[in-house]
């Protein structure tokens, strides 16, 4: 499936991260934005409105983030690609409907422009503090998909990926950007319509009377229909059977909820995306994602210049975590240097996968560290001098 040509701004333009995010969404066919304004995500909603004016798209500023995501879920059921944008405090409120979105298997995209927390934090200061919240924030067992772009071009590309994932796996997808990245300006190439591949919504095509809203295909994904077309379907956030009827017993819980987890875990290898740089012979491998990537890359190159065999693993998908690749690399490498703009979140996943094989050194950085690679370089040097295997995470302490 291809996007309609007249909606695309094909060509190379200088765009901010916020604009690239909207262009990506529009290219992916998104035509509904439900949101509540919050810094630093406001620019995205403003630009969406600007782009929506000729596209028969609609936006609504809801009364809070709870209702913003609720409206997005409702909108998605009418067949419209829908998204919301928010920041950490808003994402906290959205957790209720993240759970409902997973339970109702509703495709939608949540753009989280991360800022420092907890509480209000600093509204304009970037961070990577919602890594675990995006994955574990709602109650019960579930899996989602989380993407972390690290350049403005990637914001555009990953928005299309996010909509494709959410339509294919029928799951909310979180795009984790941050306050630094959405304000960054850079050249973005928007492809021609025929070069963009969109995942079509997975519609049911059998006889109407035989439609079961939660009957799963072989790949564990149920099929959708249009509402208002006489399917009389029944959808509930309670544990439900194939018909969507609430059934309160353990068997139904297993029937209903286990596939929600398996439909992502079984296909994790197909979903997971990462980029590698000079990892073939690397003793030290820097792992970074999002805004941390550019400083991590600088440090990796400087370390190579100093003769330290250093590689770089950049994670494009945060969730599901690139578990197998990190485990493989940990068998060859001496140490991982995990770089994050927080006090340690994804490093726990890295350490879990490298445990017993490679050491894990954690480097934290703030807004200034996005452009300054000194700490990462020093951590690489420290890691290369360490010859014994250490248990747990080694926190790098700047001198």
């Amino acid at each position: 499936m291809k996007p309609p040509k007249d909606s695309l701004k094909t060509g190379t333009h200088q765009l901010s991260g916020s604009q690239a995010c909207v262009e990506g969404a529009i290219s992916a066919g998104c035509r509904f934005l439900g949101m509540y304004p919050i810094e630093p995500a406001i620019e995205i909603s403003n630009y969406f409105l600007e782009r929506a004016k000729t596209l028969d798209a609609v936006y609504v500023q809801m009364e809070d983030e709870i209702s913003a995501l609720a409206a997005v879920l409702g909108a998605s059921w009418t067949g419209r690609r829908s998204m919301t944008v928010t920041s950490g405090p808003g994402l906290s409120l959205m957790m209720e409907h993240m759970g409902l979105g997973v339970m109702l298997e509703t495709p939608c995209v949540i753009v989280d422009v991360q800022r420092v927390g907890p509480g209000h934090g600093i509204p304009t200061a970037p961070a990577q503090g919602d890594i675990f919240q995006s994955r574990w924030g709602s109650h019960g067992d579930y899996e989602i998909i989380g993407l972390a772009p690290s350049t403005v071009q990637e914001i555009f590309d990953f928005m299309i990926k996010a909509f494709n994932f959410s339509e294919h796996y029928r799951v909310p997808v979180v795009v984790l950007t941050d306050g630094y990245l959405v304000n960054l300006k850079s050249d973005v190439t928007i492809p021609r319509a025929e070069d963009i591949k969109l995942e079509p919504r997975r519609y049911y095509d059998g006889p109407q009377e035989k439609y079961l809203p939660f009957k799963r295909d072989e790949d564990l994904i149920p099929r959708l229909v249009d509402i208002g077309a006489g399917y009389k379907f029944h959808v509930t956030g309670l544990t439900h059977d194939e018909r969507g009827y609430p059934i309160m017993n353990e068997e139904c819980q297993e029937f209903n909820v286990h596939p929600l987890v398996r439909k992502i875990r079984n296909y994790a290898e197909k979903i997971v995306r990462f980029q590698e740089l000079a990892t073939e012979d690397a003793e030290i491998i820097v792992i970074a994602y999002g805004s941390s990537f550019s400083a991590a890359k600088q440090a990796q190159q400087k370390a190579r210049e100093q003769g330290i065999k250093t590689g770089l693993l950049k994670l494009d998908t945060i969730w599901p975590f690139a578990e197998n690749r990190v485990r493989e690399l940990s068998r060859k490498a001496k140490a991982f240097v995990a770089v994050e703009m927080n006090y340690g979140q994804l490093v726990y996943e890295i350490q879990r996968c490298s445990q017993g094989n490679a050491n894990t050194i954690f480097v934290t950085h703030g807004e200034k560290g996005v452009e300054n690679s000194d700490d990462i370089l020093n951590a690489i040097i420290q890691a290369s001098r360490e010859n014994s295997k250490k248990e747990g995470i080694i926190e790098y302490a700047p001198k």
């Binding site: 499936m1 609609v58 509930t236």
Partner: protein, 258 residues
């Protein structure tokens, strides 16, 4: 079949709207058999969020009629109702005021009067029609579950309004015929003896109090531009020809080969 569902079905039938084009969003679970009987699409959402979920449905497919049925009594989600009124979303909200929660027995709800809560409560109840009217609803009414014909007529009228309609229904739990217990039968009796129809009365005078009869009836009906009316009007005013008014035709990108 609960009386309420039957009344709702009658109201929908009289309105002449194809039930296919009706979506019910609800924060209380209905029995699937009842929903099947209605012939509508049904979404059981998170508690208190039926109005917000319905907003998304209505905005992206304006040809649908959306009926949020809220049972959590304007505690969770009160803000959604208030703001749906402000922006005049085209929703037909039915608020079931059961005096006590049926599912969570003996817990008093904000609307509970002192006389009929198992533990009794000292809190003042909401006057739902007055609240809705103040927030901008274009249609407000209150009926008890015993007033089936009047309630059905109100539902018909509300479905034909453009904008937010709010109908409060005093009902002792949705499936009350399946398990009448002491509180419920006393409530039914209470409705019978203590309600008084006063149509067109000022909503502020319809407070439910211990020392007077429950005032029921259709209270207000008015016309106001809806959310999409104001959205299109404002953007047309600011942007002129650069804006193509939003029609709500489903904007799924064309499929391959077409």
């Amino acid at each position: 079949m609960s009386t309420f569902i039957e009344t709702l079905a009658n109201g929908i039938k009289e309105s002449g709207i194809n039930p296919q084009k009706i979506s019910i969003t609800s924060d209380i679970p209905f029995r699937p058999e009842d929903i099947k009987y209605l012939g509508v699409d049904y979404f059981h959402t998170n508690r208190g969020r039926a109005v917000a979920f319905g907003t998304g449905l209505k905005l992206t497919n304006p040809s649908l009629k959306v009926i949020p049925i809220i049972g959590d009594l304007i505690t969770l989600g009160g803000n959604h109702l208030v703001h749906a009124g402000r922006r005049n979303m085209e929703l037909t909200v039915i608020c079931i005021n059961s005096f006590i929660y049926r599912e969570i027995a003996h817990k008093s709800a904000p609307e509970t009067t002192t006389k009929f809560s198992a533990y009794s409560t000292f809190e003042e109840p909401f006057n739902i029609p007055h609240l809705a009217n103040s927030c901008g609803a274009v249609y407000t009414a209150r009926w008890t579950a015993l007033h089936t014909d009047e309630l059905a007529k109100s539902i018909t009228e509300a479905l034909q309004k453009n904008g937010l309609s709010v109908i409060e229904v005093l009902a002792p739990g949705l499936n009350y015929y399946q398990g009448i217990d002491k509180i419920e039968s006393s409530l039914l009796n209470f409705y019978y003896e203590n309600s008084e129809i006063k149509e067109g009365i000022e909503p502020r005078e319809t407070e439910i109090r211990n020392d007077q009869k429950i005032i029921i009836g259709r209270f207000t009906t008015l016309e106001r531009p809806t959310y999409l009316d104001t959205y299109n009007a404002q953007l047309t005013r600011v942007l002129g020809d650069k804006f193509i008014p939003y029609s709500g035709a489903v904007a799924e990108p064309k499929k391959e080969g077409e």
